[in-house]
Every structure is written in structure tokens, then in C-alpha cells.
Amino acid sequence: MALENERDVEAVAQCLSECADAVHERIKAAIKNREIERDQAQSLFQEESLLRRRANGLYIDAAKGVVAGLAESQADLLAAIDNAKEQIGQIKEVARFIDLVADLAVLAAAVGAGKPAPIVAALKEVREGVEAMNPQPSDVV
């Protein structure tokens, strides 16, 4: 199982880090007791540093494992987001429909009054309203 693998990788990385800690304590004690020369201390510290870099490399492996393991959840989360957005989109459509009815009422009034200018203006509003409800390029005028 993938998760078990990450746990194992993390455990090894942690183990390497702890080994490095132990090496470090040993170096410090040796320096304090004047047991080692500077170049020896440096090469031991170099070993310690190498252990830590190896551990850090394993943490990257583990992180990649976590990312891979989350792929399915990420897709499911996206589905939940999309469904919610659809709900919001639907209510926006209702809002646009009400606006369209308002425009139609105005158009009806303009036609009733028989004045060309308001009719043209109202028609334009209605057309825009229809287009807002069907947001696709219309080449039919």
C-alpha cells in the first residue's frame, strides 16, 4: 500500500537524521575532550552532513508519494467544486430570466404606446437579455 511505503520512507529518513544527531553529539564530546584534531572533526561533520542530505532526499520521495496518493481525492474535491458552481450558475440564470421578463414588460409597454424609438430600445434590451441567457456567439440577427 502506498501509505505504508511513505511511512516506511519517513521512518528511514528519521532514523538517518537521528544517526546524524548522534554523530554530532559524539563530535562535540570529542572536541571538548580534545580527543580529535580539527581535520578529523571536519571529516566527521562532513559524514554527518551527508547523512542529513540523504534523509532530506528521502523526505522528497515521501512527499512525492503523498502527492501521488492524493490524486483521487483531488479529483473528487474538484467534482464537488464543479457541482457547487453549477448551482450558483443556475440561480444566476434565474436572475437573468427575471431581468428578461422585466425587459419584455417594457417592450410590451412600448409597443402599446406605439412609439418607434422606445420599441427599438426595448427590443435591444430584450435581445441582450436573451443572449445573456444563452451565452454563445449568435450570428443570427
Binding site: 546524524a20 492524493l70 464537488a80 450558483i88 440561480i91 421578463v101 422585466a102 410590451a108 409597454a109
Partner: protein, 279 residues
């Protein structure tokens, strides 16, 4: 009671029960969306090499360099995880927002449009009365629709969200462990080298080194808090969402709203704490 009074009583009831009262859910989602500690720590994780590079030599340096390119390659994927959680929370905030399902403005403009034209032969007073009732009924219809939409989103999103948040917590743990190795290398170098230069001849060097250690220690102390805060924040976001699921049929009750409010407050407080540390 007269018929008119009856109608008003009914309308009043509808108005009161029609109120969606999802403000706390929205606030929680908004605060969760604004919680960016994970992304900041991911960036810090990516930049590990640029900070530790001066303190490394030989094989360790080569290995660190290889790690560096692998971290950089993984960076986008690590961020995407958080981006999706943020998008989820932003959408939940919008879905539960007061204005999202509000059609009263559209209905007002409808009534206004009709009133402007007496030629239609509709009495202004009638228009106002009908518009008023329509608004109340619409509010009731849309708010129950909104509640249902919010409930559905929370139920559908919970399982993937919880898994994702747990994954983020695990990643923060790796970031912290990587950070610890960096800290111990940088500070450790001085613990090994300083004793050999601690004599009058090298006073200047030893002093500079000690001053450098001091500032590095302060830097690492400040960063260590951020890992804790990030873990705590992610955990509170997860708990908050669990609370929403537990009370899914009762989201508008006062007790539930109060407890959700606390989650939003906690998440905000942790975020503020992180900002303070940075500032």
C-alpha cells in the same frame, strides 16, 4: 384574525424561516480559504538549498544540489493540493454567501420596469404589493435551495477534503524534518569549527561567527513556530468541516452556528499569529 392579517402572518413566518443564516459557514470557509501557511512553507521547502548551500562542501553539497532540483520539480504539485482546498473553500463561501441566491434586486427592477409604464394599465400599488409578496416567496424558495446546495457540497466534499488536509499535514511534517536537518547543519558547523578558532589570534573571526550564529538561531526559532501554526491551522480547518458534516441538517441552529463561528475565529487567530511572526 382577518384574512389580511392571516396572510401577513404567513408571510412573516416564511420570511423568518426563509432566512438562510449561513453566514457562519461562509465565514469559516472564507477564513479557511485565506489560510496560506502551507503554501509559504512549501516555498520555504523548495528554497532549502539556497539557504544551506554556503554551509555545504563535497559530496554533501552534490547531494543537496540533486535534492534541490527534485524539490523544485515537485513544487507545483505540492502547491496544487493547497490550491484545490482554497478553491473548495472559496466556492463554499460563495455558495453560502448572502447575495449569491438573492434575487430581490432583479425582482425590484422588474417591478420598477412595470411601474414606469402606466400604459400597461397596472396599478402602481398592485405592482408594489405583488412585488413584495413575490420577493418573500422567492426568498423562501431560493434560501431553501441554497441550504440544500450548501449541504450537498459539504457532504460531497468532506471525504476528499479530509484526506487532502491529512496529506497536507503529513507534508508539513516532512517540511519540518527537512528544516531541522538544515538548521542542525548550519548551526552544527559552528559548533564544530568555533572551538578551533577561539583564541586571541582569531578573535575577530570567532566574534563574527558567534554573531552570525545568533541571528541564524533567531531566524530558525521564528520559522519553527510557523510549522506548528500550519499544522494547527490545517487541523482546525479539518475539525470545522467535520463539525459541518455532523450537523448537516442543523446548520442554521444557534448552537451549531456558534461553534462554527469559533472555528472561523481560531483559524483567523492562527493566521494573524503567523503574519505577526513574519512582520
Amino acid at each position: 384574525m382577518s384574512i389580511k392579517g392571516c396572510i401577513w402572518a404567513v408571510l412573516l413566518t416564511i420570511t423568518l424561516t426563509g432566512c438562510a443564516n449561513l453566514k457562519e459557514v461562509g465565514d469559516y470557509a472564507e477564513e479557511s480559504a485565506r489560510f496560506s501557511a502551507y503554501t509559504e512553507l512549501t516555498t520555504r521547502f523548495r528554497d532549502t538549498y539556497s539557504r544551506e548551500q554556503p554551509y555545504l562542501v563535497g559530496e554533501a553539497r552534490q547531494l543537496a544540489q540533486a535534492n534541490d532540483s527534485r524539490r523544485k520539480a515537485a513544487y507545483d504539485d505540492l502547491l496544487t493540493i493547497h490550491k484545490r482546498v482554497t478553491l473548495y473553500m472559496q466556492t463554499l463561501a460563495r455558495l453560502s454567501g448572502e447575495d449569491t441566491f438573492d434575487l430581490s434586486e432583479n425582482l425590484d427592477s422588474l417591478a420598477g420596469g412595470i411601474k414606469e409604464h402606466p400604459d400597461l394599465g397596472i396599478d402602481k400599488k398592485q405592482v408594489d404589493a405583488i412585488a413584495g409578496i413575490t420577493k418573500v416567496i422567492t426568498k423562501w424558495a431560493t434560501s431553501s435551495r441554497q441550504q440544500r446546495a450548501v449541504r450537498e457540497m459539504i457532504q460531497e466534499g468532506d471525504a476528499p477534503l479530509q484526506t487532502t488536509l491529512q496529506g497536507m499535514k503529513t507534508l508539513v511534517r516532512y517540511y519540518r524534518a527537512t528544516h531541522e536537518n538544515e538548521r542542525k547543519t548550519v548551526l552544527g558547523l559552528f559548533e564544530v569549527e568555533l572551538p578551533y578558532v577561539d583564541d586571541p589570534e582569531n578573535r575577530l573571526l570567532a566574534t563574527l561567527a558567534r554573531a552570525h550564529v545568533q541571528s541564524k538561531e533567531a531566524e530558525y526559532r521564528a520559522v519553527a513556530h510557523r510549522y506548528e501554526d500550519a499544522e494547527q491551522g490545517i487541523e482546525r480547518i479539518a475539525e470545522g468541516h467535520r463539525k459541518l458534516v455532523e450537523n448537516i441538517d442543523d446548520l442554521t441552529s444557534k448552537a451549531v452556528r456558534d461553534s462554527i463561528k469559533r472555528f472561523a475565529k481560531d483559524i483567523k487567530a492562527i493566521r494573524k499569529d503567523i503574519n505577526k511572526l513574519e512582520g
